[in-house]
């Protein structure tokens, strides 16, 4: 997209007037403010979190007792497929993106991301892509081939109907959103840092965002290729995975996991970044081994590319491949372990304040460690041959993705909520939320370890009575409902906290990084004055410069105060104007994808929308000329 900033610039005729007001529906549809975009990411992905949770509960109801007949096998396949797909692509990734959007510009001292309209495009493509994937429910043919979509189970010969086509096209559209966001955040972090903020002074969350974004822009294209090939096979009769023509279904597994393994680090690294911000704040001491945590994250991001075949130990790749991937998988546990020790050492000797976000972060460390250890048992390929396709694997990845990513995200929500909104979430309800989620989570997923080791297979809609699996399954179902109640308590907490607003100052936790140096919620221009950065945790040392000379912090009042915005002359503030083009490009892309299933007319309309949107976008000035105040 080349936007040429020139007063003489020509514009294509507008169909709608450019939205200018700073309130109302048009403001939200046209906004390019990273904070508003982050909020919308958060709301939409939380909606999908609830949908994915309902899908999980239906699965648990069906499995609560042996030979249950509540859900048909066909519906069961659709539920576990959409549960996995939803939780990975529509929940953890975009919830992380909500935090990227909100926090990265604030943490590096920038006014916005590098490309605000591209950021809006990511949001809209994500929203319409998620709708595209889920309207398959309305057709009665939801995707049913698993979130990994292995052929031949997903080829048109064995899986006719539109379900998997919706799935693969939805993934491709969502991939566009992720790549666009990844590009944006890489450029933002590399190029938009405040003066003095060298790479090794950046907050850990920003570092993890950078590593995650690099993984996204490199891994999602691989998924796009897999998606294009599967679309070709399903819709146009190509032969990529058609064994009758010599195609190889195993090849899909290779490219899917070549994407899929970096993807799991895309899911967990942002969570690690959040925890690395919360722990030092409430342990009242600096993060232990900042450099080690950063380089461990980078190493995880690098080594994540060399472990994909551990998803394929039982395929029969031969002893050489299995040994190599066993070794690389065990090696990747090292940087992960380094991080866990660093977090524990951060807590060691700190004066710990057990706020809700701190509880979730400590819960994260414990649960992620359990999940990490069961992960190492999969790394050993002979052992994995016993565990493959059993509930042991289900237990493992829920411990790292729910006990890991989701716990950290909830911790992040309680931690940054005052910054996002200007008021606290209720701590008492928060602690109840944590306790119920902790109990429910372990009740649901711990029994799956022994269910799996006892041989209970994944993805089977029921099991026989005499297997001895009923008690554990019932416990898991009860745990699932406890989690649901804890999420409900979170939602009630959001409503109650909004009604009796307990106002938060700009720096309510006495925290460390730049986002706490401005008022809560931040003004739309973020920083009145771009800060000059001199240290890691710059805001902390601006408040307590004595700490740099080794004097204890006790009984010292902060040396710096949150930025005062009362004297800012709003007429001198130039931020990019709103734009509706990203919205229409997002709609167009999803329509075109939908048209691949139904009719070329829709493809044509979609592509015309995309083309018009791109041209309009390129010719639109960042600011309307009459608004200039020079």
């Amino acid at each position: 997209m080349s936007s040429i900033i020139n007063p003489k610039q020509f514009q294509i005729p507008r169909i709608f007037p450019r939205p200018m007001s700073h309130s109302g529906i048009w403001y939200w549809l046209g906004t390019v403010d990273h904070k508003k975009i982050g909020t919308m990411y958060g709301i939409v992905s939380f909606f999908w979190f609830i949908m994915g949770g309902i899908e999980a509960l239906l699965i648990r109801v069906q499995l609560s007792h042996a030979e249950a007949d509540i859900i048909s096998p066909e519906l069961y396949n659709q539920l576990f497929t959409m549960h996995g797909t939803t939780m990975v692509f529509l929940v953890v990734m975009p919830l992380s993106a909500a935090f990227f959007n909100w926090l990265v510009p604030l943490q590096i001292g920038a006014r916005d991301v590098a490309f605000p309209r591209l950021n809006a495009l990511s949001l809209w493509v994500f929203i319409f892509g998620s709708i595209l994937m889920n309207i398959s429910w309305l057709t009665g043919e939801a995707p049913n081939g698993g979130w990994f979509g292995y052929p031949p189970n997903s080829t048109v010969q064995f899986n006719p109907g539109n379900g998997m086509t919706f799935w693969v096209l939805g993934l491709n559209v969502l991939g566009v959103a992720s790549i666009a966001a990844g590009l944006n955040f890489i450029v933002t972090i590399i190029n938009m840092r405040a003066p003095g903020m060298t790479m090794m002074r950046m907050p850990v969350f920003t570092w993890m965002t950078l590593i995650t974004s690099i993984l996204i822009v490199l891994a999602l294209p691989v998924l796009a290729v897999a998606g294009i090939q599967m679309t070709g096979d399903r819709v146009y009769g190509t032969n990529f995975f058609n064994s009758e023509a010599g195609g190889d279904p195993i090849f899909w597994q290779h490219i899917f996991w070549l994407f899929g393994h970096p993807e799991v680090y895309i899911l967990i690294l942002p969570a690690m970044g959040m925890v690395s911000e919360i722990l030092p704040t409430f342990a009242r001491k600096p993060l232990f081994g900042y450099t080690f945590i950063i380089f461990s994250g980078a190493l995880i991001g690098f080594m994540g590319w060399f472990v994909w075949s551990h998803h394929m130990f039982t395929v029969g790749l031969g002893p050489a491949a299995n040994t190599a991937f066993t070794l690389s998988t065990m090696l990747i546990a090292i940087p992960t372990g380094v991080k866990i020790f660093n977090w524990i050492a951060t807590l060691w000797g700190g004066s710990i304040k057990l706020t809700t976000s701190m509880l979730f972060s400590i819960g994260f460390i414990a649960m992620f460690t359990i999940g990490g250890l069961s992960g190492v048992t999969h790394a050993i390929s002979p052992s994995d041959a016993q565990q493959q396709d059993t509930y042991y694997v289900v237990a493992h990845f829920h411990y790292v993705l729910f006990g890991g990513a989701i716990f950290a995200i909830f911790g992040g929500l309680y931690f940054w909520w005052p910054k996002f909104t200007g008021y606290f979430l209720n701590e008492k309800l928060g602690i109840l939320n944590f306790i119920l989620m902790m109990i429910g989570f372990n009740l649901q997923f711990a029994p799956m370890h022994w269910l799996g080791l006892d041989g209970m297979p994944r993805r089977i809609y029921t099991y026989a009575e005499n297997m001895g699996w009923e008690l554990s399954n019932l416990a898991a179902t009860i745990g699932g409902f406890l989690i649901a109640i804890s999420v409900l308590i979170f939602l009630i907490n959001v409503v109650i906290s909004r009604i009796n607003k307990k106002l938060a100052s700009g720096d309510p936790w006495d925290a460390r990084t730049l986002e706490w140096s401005i008022s809560s919620p931040p003004p739309h221009y973020n920083f009145v004055k771009i800060p000059q950065v001199e240290h890691i945790d710059d805001w902390w040392y601006k408040k307590y410069p004595g700490l740099l000379e080794g004097s204890p912090k006790q009984n010292k009042s902060p040396n710096a105060t949150v930025e005062d915005t009362s004297n800012v002359d709003e007429s001198k503030i130039h931020l990019p104007d709103l734009s509706y083009y990203p919205l229409f490009v997002g709609i167009g892309l999803s329509l075109a994808a939908l048209g691949v299933i139904y009719t070329y007319a829709l493809v044509t309309i979609g592509l015309i929308l995309v083309f018009w949107g791109c041209i309009g976008w390129s010719t639109e000035p960042v600011n309307e000329p009459h608004k200039k105040h020079h």
């Binding site: 040429i4 003489k8 450029v187 294209p221 010599g246 001198k572 960042v622």
Partner: protein, 216 residues
């Protein structure tokens, strides 16, 4: 600290940590992403080389001399865009427009050759559905063609802006960005031409494949 009189701006003029413009950095990172895209397709092609069970096979279809011509034209267009950018930066608008125009024409010639090639292949029975060679060949080359086509549209847009006086030496980075993209697409074609044409063209019937004769 008084905040009165502070002017707040968004954009590169305040924070620019590396000195490279955001747009250029964006294009470099995007190209890194695109490497993975093409890399996976090229990997697919190589993994499925000599795995087709029925014809037409590469030896029956590929025509190196013809594709060499279009390859030469595309590679020369890279030179053209270097000159177009050079003259734009020097504000020699006549030459800048001339070279940009020529690049667009060369891109169109390349696409024209590809259209001819595709229809010729389809005529003798090589389609994306025919066999593995067809599937892997057409997805890779047509997506490369789509990249070239998007590049052509982009360059036409920029040329139009040169005529309108909007694209000058001051915002030459907009052409530079398109140039990076164009060079990348050319470099990818070098890899495709080497692997899909030069190395593969001699591949006949693989072990286990049915023989093929034209007209069947």
């Amino acid at each position: 600290m008084s905040n009165q009189g502070v002017t707040v701006h968004h954009g590169e003029e305040i924070n620019n940590s590396t000195g490279v413009s955001n747009k250029k950095l964006l294009m470099w990172v995007f190209l890194g992403s695109d490497v993975m895209f093409f890399g996976t397709f090229i990997g697919t092609f190589m993994a499925y080389r000599n795995k087709s069970l029925n014809g037409p096979y590469p030896a029956d279809t590929l025509d190196i001399p013809i594709t060499s011509i279009s390859t030469f034209v595309l590679l020369m267009s890279s030179l053209g865009i270097v000159l177009a950018l050079h003259y734009l930066k020097e504000s020699k608008m006549g030459l800048a427009k001339f070279w940009l125009f020529l690049v667009i024409i060369m891109g169109m010639i390349f696409i024209g050759f590809q259209v001819y090639e595709f229809s010729h292949f389809a005529h003798i029975g090589m389609t994306p559905q025919a066999n593995l060679f067809g599937s892997t060949f057409f997805t890779l080359t047509s997506l490369h063609g789509a990249h070239v086509s998007i590049g052509i549209l982009w360059l036409i847009f920029l040329l139009y802006n040169e005529y309108k006086g909007n694209l000058t030496s001051e915002n030459a980075v907009d052409l530079e960005m398109a140039g990076l993209y164009w060079h990348f697409v050319d470099i990818v074609w070098i890899v495709i031409f080497a692997l899909l044409y030069l190395i593969t063209a001699g591949d006949g019937v693989p072990p286990g494949g049915l023989p093929w004769t034209a007209g069947h």
